[in-house]
């Protein structure tokens, strides 16, 4: 079935997207494990279709600062990947890679910001690689960009990018667990509607 809005995505399709997402996030967790030499898992991803304001409320307070790494997808899949990290995850990364921690985002220097960007890039590309392998899709990724700012302003970026075709966005998100502690971070995949159709055709058609 061709979907026109995110609301048309059926329960079976959502299940398959969740399943594929979990393979992607598993891959991303392995990459982070290697990077941090620690036991990192990601819980079973949550797939949600939400209005703009609800999506922000789901992820936190619009004014709270976060670090976000953004990568654009193109090729067989168009859309945005966002990796949101809050201070506990940032410190876990900084402690392992650079042997220090910060108490506030404003203390991050250039070297630390580029280390975080690289971690985000690894997480995102390992997720997308798993997905493209499963779906047999060629997905190109842009150079990663980072922003450390209010959550609401950061989330407005993918919302605006998809804003001409939808009033809602689909968020596939997973939370990282490091040495049994859940860290405040989320990996978000925001595909556009034609890409979602392709993905569903490739993955779900056989299941229905």
């Amino acid at each position: 079935m061709e979907i026109k809005t995110y609301d048309d995505v059926g329960a079976t399709a959502l299940d398959v997207i969740r399943e594929v997402g979990s393979i992607g996030t598993g891959n991303a967790a392995t990459a982070v494990s290697e990077l941090l030499s620690a036991n990192v898992r990601i819980n079973l991803p949550d797939v949600r279709i939400e209005g703009f304001n609800e999506a922000i409320a789901l992820l936190g307070n619009p004014e709270e600062p976060v670090a976000a790494i953004l990568v654009q997808m193109s090729g067989d899949m168009n859309g945005i990947m966002l990796f949101l990290l809050k201070i506990d995850f940032i410190n876990a990364v900084l402690h392992t890679m650079l042997g220090k921690t910060v108490s506030d985002y404003s203390e991050l220097d250039e070297l630390e910001v580029s280390a975080l960007t690289e971690v985000g890039n690894i997480v995102i590309s390992s997720y997308v690689n798993a997905l493209s392998g499963l779906a047999g899709m060629e997905i190109d990724l842009s150079v990663p960009a980072i922003s450390i700012n209010m959550l609401g302003g950061i989330l407005s970026v993918p919302m605006i990018e998809l804003g001409y075709e939808t009033d809602k966005i689909m968020i596939i998100s997973g939370k990282f667990i490091l040495n049994k502690h859940q860290l405040d971070s989320s990996l978000l995949m925001l595909p556009d509607i034609p890409s979602l159709n392709k993905l569903i055709t490739k993955l779900v058609a056989g299941h229905e």
Binding site: Q72, Y105, N149, I160
Partner: protein, 160 residues
């Protein structure tokens, strides 16, 4: 009484005489406040995109053109007179330094430009602004005075 009314994304609210309108964390979106000092009527609009597409739209306040038109129409219903309006805008940031000339990189700038053009066409004077750069802004408007306060992360507040 000091009630705070939240304006969501692609949303608009009106207040009269008292209270505060607030919209959180404007990134590349734009917050547009209109204040009629004679009757103390205030509107705050939060748009996402510069211009509406040529098809049926479900959310008028998502786009600068349809959003401003509808805001002005509703204000006039409440007795607002366009020539008296004091208008201020905030937002239109570039949240991510992405390479190239993609729509993602330039949308904030395009939003600013479109809002200014529409205001010019409507003959509404834009009195103050806090736009562009690379950070999100929370915008508060007092319905009593039309004063706008901009709150950001890691910077002092700005009063417009």
């Amino acid at each position: 009484m000091n009630k705070e009314v939240t304006v969501g994304i692609a949303d608009m609210k009106l207040l009269r005489q008292e209270g505060t309108l607030i919209t959180y964390a404007l990134g590349s979106c734009i917050g547009i406040s209109f204040y009629d000092p004679m009757i103390k009527l205030t509107a705050l609009l939060h748009i996402m995109l510069p211009i509406s597409p040529e098809k049926e739209i479900s959310q008028v306040f998502k786009f600068a053109d349809t959003g401003i038109q509808e805001t002005l129409r509703r204000m006039s219903v409440f007795g607002g007179i366009k020539s008296r309006y004091i208008c201020k805008i905030a937002g239109g940031a570039r949240m991510f330094e992405v390479l190239g000339n993609s729509s993602l990189a330039n949308i904030g700038e395009r939003n600013i430009e479109s809002v200014k053009n529409i205001l010019l066409k409507e003959q509404i004077q834009l009195t103050q602004q806090d736009v562009g750069s690379n950070y999100a802004r929370t915008m508060r408007v007092s319905a009593q005075t039309g004063t706008v306060t901009i709150h950001t992360y890691g910077r002092p507040d700005v009063v417009l």
